[in-house]
Amino acid sequence: MEKKKVVIIGAGVVGSAIARVLSRYENLEVTVLERNIDVGWGTSKANSAVVHPGHEDDQKKYPLRAKFCAKGNRIWHSWAEELDVPIKWPGEIMLAFSVRDLEKLQYYLDLAEKNGVPDVKIVYQDELRELEPNVSPDAIAGLWAPTAGLLAPWDAVISLIENSVDNGVKLHTETEVKDVVVEDGKVKGVQTNNGFFEADIVINAAGLYADVISKKVGINFDITPRKGEYYLIDEDVKERVKRIVHQVPTELTKGVYISETVEGNILIGPSAVNLPLDAKDDVSTTEKYLDYIWESAKKLVAKLPPKSSVIKTFAGLRAEPPSGRWIIEAYDNPKGFINAAGMRSPALASSPAVAEYIAKELIGKKLGVELVEKKNWNPYRKGIKKFKILDDKEKERLIKENPKYGNVLCMCKEVTEAEIIEAIERMKKIGIKTISLDGVKFRTTSMFGWCQGSFCRVRIARVVANYLGIPEWEIPVKDGKTSYGVGDVKAFFNTKQGVDEA
């Protein structure tokens, strides 16, 4: 059987969803190239984590967003189960505070019907307050969309990649595409810092850098980084929300949300600020917009948690395309080049549907590639067992099997040494070349809690160091450039145990 080589640029939620879907086909040889040291570290790890219902996009203005969101939302039910990704479906309420807002609710109610989003309705006082007891007393109505979900987006990406690799997909981290090679109007492959990768089909899912990639084949557009800042609140606060609560969207943004994440923390945000085109990694938080978010959030609920319960602030960048329209297309020239670009919200929700579309409609029909289903494709992937949520019997059994489950390293989230080690092993299994502390963090939720790693990070670093047989100061924290410490404590005296010059 002739195999078509497919290269996917970018292991974010879009790229990894495409990888999973394409891994079903016998005659496709799929490779994912990711410039970072780990997967999902672009927009995918810093967003509102909402699986949107799909009633907020007008088909006329944003045809692809409208087309794929509700469908993707439905598919996530089975995907989350297959991939063992914790997910919950609290539903969301868009709040109206004025008659003008109420008109907007009506507009979105109409969109819900057009886009096939079920059970959306406008709720008033009593019903509104029953749905969300902490709703602001100033809210006069809400648009209730029960099919809204929440998951941990980094978890989604990791599970998608693990499942894809399990089904034959190859992942190359620390691999940046420098050029897309085209000959006679056909894609031949990509040139990277790690050599040339042959490809019949190149799918550009490079997120914030999708414009850089696309320009290499002469398909020009700009991706504007649009920053959104967030507050993460301690999980034990009394002031909570039952549903995802948010304001009426604007052209710029879906607006500020308050939700309770799958880990049980309250998440507040984001803001929406356009950055210069080249500010593609400016994820700095700012006083101005953090204040703005807090003030906006105050309007949504009766009681916001106290500021003292904030455990973390962070920012993410949306990959904003020109006029907000997603660019999902297979081109005639160069043939074999597919863009899955500018997929700002609701990309997380839509990614399963987009992936299927790209497989069946773009690769299958447009490019005329016959898709042969694998007989033994495995849809199932099991995540790292979270010791903390297991029942006592299971905990006891695991400790007897492996005493490292009895060594709690992260006290706030009760993460054990066994989970830390499993995280490292899983990173290696999918082909990650550089084990980092953040890689461990995202796979275990260690360092996510109240102490934000101030107590446990050094102990976790010790375990990683011991396992890898390298000193702690050679373990990267977030990327390949800055590691945990600069050298041995006596590094500044000895030239033998020299200091890494950054």
Partner: protein
């Protein structure tokens, strides 16, 4: 009198932290100390002006123990000017467990007449 210098300093002997003023003559000798509320303060001021000394605390590498370092201190204060030499000398040492608390690691470190002693035991792993 006109060649005398005055120097201000905060006494560190006790939590009171008296503000001291030390008068020094042309030969660098302390002529008077004011502002102290006890004799130790005066002693401190004189020492501080003539030959300031400090106890030095640090860590030294150790092998085959529960931690890779053992904590140490100088057995008595050493001249401030000698501290960099002391630090350099101990940076090159790697001990082998076990190390007892109070054990002398280096005698007469950097020629200061003080020893380096362990302040934490390093039991064998």
């Amino acid at each position: 009198m006109s060649n005398y210098k005055k120097r201000k300093m905060t006494c560190i002997v006790c939590p009171l932290g008296c503000e001291l003023e030390v008068t020094i003559n042309e030969n660098g000798k302390v002529v008077s100390v004011t502002g102290n509320t006890c004799p130790q303060g005066k002693e401190y001021a004189i020492q501080e002006v003539t030959a300031p000394k400090r106890v030095v605390m640090s860590v030294i590498h150790v092998k085959n123990s529960i931690f890779p370092t053992v904590s140490v201190k100088t057995s008595k204060p050493v001249l401030k000017s000698k501290i960099p030499e002391v630090m350099k000398e101990i940076s090159d040492i790697t001990l082998d467990a076990p190390v007892e608390i109070g054990q002398v690691i280096v005698k007469n470190v950097a020629g200061t007449d003080a020893d380096i002693v362990s302040t934490r035991p390093a039991p064998e792993k």
